[in-house]
C-alpha cells in the first residue's frame, strides 16, 4: 500500500499520452493505416446497428447484410421515442443512476475523509472490513436483498433500485487513497484559525478532491446505467424497468424479426446517453478506471 499514496499524482496525466517512448517511428503511415482498418472493423457492429436503425422495416425483411441504410428513414427512432415505453425507462434510468451516483460520491468522499484524515478507534479493522467488501460478489448476493425488499413491499420502487447500489467499497477506497495523499500543510492554517472538521472537509478537502470525485462519479454512472441483474430482479412491473432491462426484455420476442429497424433504433436510443457522456468525459472516466485499479 506504499505506492498508493501517490496515486492521484501518478494518474493525473495518464489520460493524455504523456512521456512518449523513444520509439523509432520508421513507417508511421503504414502503422496508421493498419490501426484505422482495425478501428473500423472494431466499430463495425455499432455502425451496423446505426444503419439498421435508420432503415425501413419492410425493406429490412429482404436485406440486412449491408452497411448501406435500406430506404433511409428516421421513423423508427421517432416512433420509439413517441409511442413506446422507452421514454419512461429512460427516465427511470436517469433517476436511479442519478441518485446512485450522487449517493456513491457523497458517502465515499465522507468515509474517505474519515479513513484518510482522521484518527479514531477501530480505524484499521473498519478499513480492512471495507476492503473485504470489495471481494463480495454483488451479482451473487441478490437473493437476500430480494427477500429484504419483497418482505417490506418495496419491489418495483425507485428506492429498491438504487438503495443497495450506493455503498461502494471501491469508492471509499479511492477517496481514502486520495485524501491520504493531501499534504498536512493544506489544512494546518485552517485548523489554527479554529476551523472544525466540517469546515475543513467542505472548504478545503472537497474542492481539492474534485478530479477524483469526477472520476468516481463517471465510473459509478457507467456501472449503474448498465446494471442488469439487480434491476431485473427488483422490478417486475414494466413501469419500473430501467432502460437496460427494458431493452433486453424485448429481444426474445419473435415479432422482433419483422421490426429489426425498430429494435435497432431502441438499441441506438439506449446507447446514446452513455456514448455522449463518455465522449464528453472520457478523460475522467479513464482516470477513474486507472484510479480504481491503482492499488488493492
Amino acid at each position: 500500500m506504499t505506492a498508493a499514496a501517490t496515486a492521484p499524482e501518478a494518474v493525473r496525466d495518464q489520460a493524455r499520452a504523456s512521456s512518449p517512448k523513444p520509439r523509432t517511428r520508421r513507417r508511421p503511415t503504414l502503422f496508421h493505416v493498419f490501426m484505422i482498418v482495425a478501428v473500423v472493423v472494431w466499430l463495425l457492429p455499432i455502425g451496423w446497428m446505426v444503419v439498421l436503425a435508420v432503415s425501413d422495416n419492410h425493406l429490412l425483411q429482404l436485406k440486412t447484410q449491408t452497411l448501406i441504410p435500406q430506404g433511409f428513414t428516421l421513423d423508427n427512432i421517432v416512433t420509439e421515442l413517441r409511442g413506446s415505453r422507452i421514454p419512461r425507462w429512460f427516465l427511470n434510468s436517469v433517476v436511479v443512476t442519478g441518485v446512485t451516483t450522487l449517493g456513491t460520491v457523497v458517502t465515499s468522499a465522507m468515509a474517505g475523509y474519515a479513513f484518510g484524515r482522521l484518527k479514531f478507534r477501530f480505524q484499521t479493522p473498519l478499513f480492512v472490513l471495507t476492503l473485504a467488501g470489495l471481494m463480495v460478489p454483488r451479482e451473487a448476493m441478490f437473493i437476500p436483498l430480494y427477500l429484504m425488499f419483497s418482505e417490506t413491499g418495496q419491489l418495483n420502487s425507485y428506492q429498491g433500485l438504487f438503495l443497495p447500489r450506493i455503498a461502494l467499497p471501491l469508492g471509499v477506497f479511492i477517496m481514502t487513497q486520495f485524501f491520504r495523499a493531501v499534504p498536512h500543510e493544506m489544512e494546518e492554517a485552517a485548523r489554527i484559525d479554529g476551523a472544525g472538521h466540517a469546515r475543513i472537509f467542505l472548504s478545503i478537502m472537497l474542492p481539492l478532491a474534485r478530479p477524483a470525485m469526477a472520476a468516481l462519479a463517471i465510473f459509478a454512472f457507467v456501472q449503474s446505467w448498465n446494471d442488469y441483474l439487480w434491476p431485473l430482479v427488483v422490478a417486475t412491473n414494466p413501469h419500473f424497468f430501467t432502460l437496460t432491462v427494458g431493452l433486453a426484455q424485448q429481444q426474445g420476442s419473435f415479432d422482433a424479426a419483422n421490426s429489426l429497424g425498430s429494435l435497432m433504433a431502441r438499441g441506438l436510443i439506449g446507447s446514446l446517453p452513455l456514448v455522449i457522456v463518455f465522449l464528453l468525459f472520457q478523460r475522467q472516466l479513464i482516470r477513474g478506471i486507472a484510479l480504481g485499479s491503482g492499488e488493492k
Binding site: A114, I143, M148, P164, H197, G267, I286
Partner: protein, 362 residues
Amino acid sequence: MAEHTASRGRTARGDGAAALVFLSPFLVLAVVFILYPVGQALYMSFFDFDLLTQTATNFGLQNYREMFGGSDLTWSATSMLTWRIPLLLLAGAVVVRGTRRPGAKRTLTVVAVLLLLVVALGVHPGAHGSWNDQRFWAALQHTIEFTVISTPLLMALGLGLAILVNRPGRLSTVYRTAFFLPYVLPVSVVTLIWIYLLNPDRGLAVKLTDALGIPPIDYLNSPSFALPAVILTTIWWTVGFNLVLFLAGLQDIDPHLYEAAALDGASRWASFVNITVPGLRRVSMLVLVTQVVASFQVFGQVYIMTRGGPGDSSLVLIQNVYQTGIRDAKLGYASAQSIVLLALILVVSLVELRFLREDADS
C-alpha cells in the same frame, strides 16, 4: 496503514465523534446492503426457504448435499482427463518455477492444492448413479470454462492494444477511444447487436464466413458454439477496460529504461521482455484478479443471448442462482449456491492477492 499506527498515540482521543459522523452514511448502507445480505445468505443456505408458501424449514446441510452429492459415486484415474491433465501440467510448471526461485512454502501449498484438485476430479457417478444436481455442475463447468478461455484472451488483447495506442499524438487518443467505446454500451445493446450479427440468415457474420467458404452456422443455437459466441461478444465488449488498465501501467514505466536499452542496442523484443513485462507485473496481476472475479459473476450476456442453452450448454452459475431463486422460488437452495460462489471468489482472489503481494515484495 503503518502511518496510522505510528501517529495514533498522539491523536487517538480527538476525532472519534467526527469520524462517526463522516463514516455513518457509508457504514449504515454497507452493513444493511452488503454485510447483512452475506450473513443472511449464509443463514438461509441451511434452510428450505420457500418464497411461495413463506415457510422456512431447517434443512441443515441438505442444500449443500443436494448441490455436491450424488448417488453411486466412484473414483477412477481416467475421469475428466481433459481437465486433470492441464492441472497436472500446471502443478509441474509450478514445481519447475519453484526450484529456480526461493519461496518453497508457497510452491508446496500451490502444488498440494493442485494435486488435491486433480484427485478430487476423479470422483464421478458410477454406472447406475448420477449427481443430485446436474445443472449445478454444468453451470460450474461453464463458468470455469468461460473464465479460463476469456481471461487470457482479454489480457493478451488488452495488452496488445495498449502497446499499440501508447504513443503520443491525437490519433492514438482516437484509437483508444474507439477500442474503449463498446465498454460503455449497456449489456442489452451489446447482445442486441451480436444476436443479429451472428444470426445465420440475416447477420453480417454469415456473410463473412460465406466469403471464406464456410457454411452458415447457427452459433447461438449450437451446443458447441453458444459459449464461444458469448465469449467473443464479451471480449469485444470489455477489452477496452483492460486496455486502459494496461495503458496506465505502461505509462508508469520509466521511459529512461527504454532509452538506456536502446543505447545498449537492445531489440524491441528484448526491451519488451526485459522492461515492459516486469514493469507490468503489478497491473497484470490486478487485471487478472478483476477479470476472474468479474468472469465468475458473468450473467447478462449469457442470459440474454442463449438463456443458458441450447440444453444447458451455456448455463452459468449466476443464471442458475437466478432461476433457482426467482423462477423456482427455492431461496434456500439458491442462497447455498450464492455462498459457494462467494467462497470460490474469496479463495481465488485471496490466492491471487497473495501472489500479487509476494511478487511485489520480491
